[in-house]
Point group: C2
Chain length 335, copies 2
């Protein structure tokens, strides 16, 4: 018998999620049936969409999210003991599942790609959902061309930090917005951004105009809100905006979202294209992204920094820290 723990979300969050919105549930797992596997979590991911979706679904629910695990017991020949798997089973330390081929996020399971010696934690980061998000969300929607100017907001986050580096690989000029001077330093000194701006302290419009004298061609938006309105006002004719998230509003009441300067005049005069996306749109193509991302990391063109919290007991803290912007790069919990 295996004793398993999971985090159940009891409430629709009001503002910043609170510890009492979660309940730790322990249960004894039953013996495996044919086709089932027992998975032990090794790396658990905390991501902004775990906040955003809370208000979109009914409560209570088992906290969802990506994790890398190891098959500890198996009655499924395709997943023998020792197999490393990526699932969307969330904040569970042990669980039983029946692997199926599906692109439905709830039940998705796939074998961890061959990471060629890189940390397996990347399976929930640069070579996982956030990696695919950066890769497809930027390349497919922004369709960047060499020489163009790309702006990324939430640039020091799991997705944004990859988008900026991919843009550099593609020959673009890259400007990132982040929320601390440490992040700005990291983006400019370590990741090779042409310019990074602390949106909390800068005169955003002025610094953006100085950094992008020829205007902006592509904008990868993780944050929404007024910052996005300012950036969109600086986009050139036929510019493209990929909207990945709007973390600036995630702690707001979903029925009373904030207001920001309207973007329609820019959309019309500059004939801009703005598209929101969920990375599940490309689930079948994720392996294509993973192959390329691993290659870029191996040759040193892409840095996949992680912000690691140790211990299953601290997954809630890791989540709150990530929402507060404490992480440089991907926030992940080592179980």
């Amino acid at each position: 018998m295996v004793k398993a723990r999971k985090q159940v979300v009891l409430n629709h969050f009001k503002g910043v999620p609170k510890r009492e919105d979660f309940k730790l549930v322990e249960e004894e797992l039953p013996p495996l049936k044919d086709g089932e596997i027992l998975v032990k979590a090794e790396w658990i991911s905390v991501d902004p969409y775990q906040r955003a979706y809370n208000t979109q679904i009914g409560v209570p629910y088992d906290q969802f999210g990506f994790q890398v695990g190891k098959v500890e017991d198996s009655k499924n020949d395709d997943y023998p003991i020792g197999t490393k798997v990526v699932t969307h089973k969330g904040w569970k330390d042990y669980f039983i599942t029946t692997p199926a081929v599906t692109t439905n996020m709830t039940d998705i399971i796939y074998k961890l790609p061959d990471l060629q010696g890189l940390s397996e934690s990347l399976g929930v980061g640069a070579v996982g959902m956030p990696g695919a998000t950066a890769y497809f969300g930027f390349l497919e929607i922004c369709k960047p061309k060499a020489g163009e100017t790309v702006v990324v907001s939430g640039a020091a986050g799991a997705v944004g930090s990859l988008v900026g580096q991919i843009a550099k690989i593609k020959g673009c000029k890259v400007i990132g917005f982040a929320g601390s001077d440490d992040k700005v330093q990291w983006l400019e000194k370590e990741l090779g951004f042409d310019k990074a701006i602390n949106y909390k302290t800068a005169d955003v419009l002025k610094e953006l105009q100085e950094a992008a004298p020829k205007g902006v061609d592509c904008y990868f938006d993780n944050v929404g809100g007024e910052l996005s309105s300012v950036i969109i006002s600086q986009i050139n004719l036929f510019g493209r905006v990929s909207v990945c998230g709007s973390i600036s509003s995630y702690n707001d009441d979903v029925n009373k979202l904030p207001k920001a300067t309207i973007i329609q005049p820019s959309l019309v005069f500059k004939q801009l294209k703005v598209e929101g996306f969920l990375v599940s749109r490309w689930t079948e193509r994720w392996p294509e992204a993973f192959k390329q991302l691993i290659e870029w990391i191996k040759v040193g063109q892409l840095k996949a920094r992680e912000h690691i919290t140790e211990g299953y007991d601290h997954v809630f803290d890791a989540f709150i820290g990530m929402l507060a912007g404490e992480n440089l790069g991907k926030a992940v919990v080592k179980v």
Copy 2:
């Protein structure tokens, strides 16, 4: 010698354009040179973009805009006396020009299409720039499918009234937003909209949800602002938004645009595509739209109502009236 009149715009408008922002200039036109034609305006158009562009260009400038005119004298064999032409020469009663093949809006000139007995005023309306705007802006960007629900704002205007009718022709359910009960009546009783809503008096969200129980698939946006934020919040997965204008903000200070509820959360969760456009993008294809629009009007599938002001002296009043929403359908001045 011909005495010609034109309206020169002296200032960047502050709020509603004022009569003193314009200056009537009279001048004697010189004799024609080789290749030139003398045109007498017959129908002069007033349109929302004449307000919007004012802040984008330097002053003073000759007021631009479409007009239908007649060649009164000619030293150009391609444009003999009596030829009807459409130009972008604006609020001039007589002018001299050298016809050239160009898609540049300032110098555009083309022969009035064969309107098969319909009023030649349609050359600046349903079979002119506004017609092409409705046709391409809706069909190319919204890509509507039969059975889908389409929302149009500014629905009683020159473009909006055509978009709604084209959507009906394409088998869509059509909901229009307009600013008076008269307009609502006209849209529902005369133009066949499934539902029209007076956004000034209605509980917009509630009435929209009732009218569109299956949600919205396409939104053709003429107005921007909070109304658009509400409509966008009701759009279904993979919905499309065509942004044609944002007349709700045209009288605002361009450096201090209004705020409205952010749309990014809807863009992400519903994976929406929002695109702004200028109809000049499709100038070479306008004849394709005109052919279809004439056909629809001739068989009675499309009603091209006009709001006609008489006399060159009243073009300013027609313009202000149109900006205030006094027109049902296309606002045009009979010279």
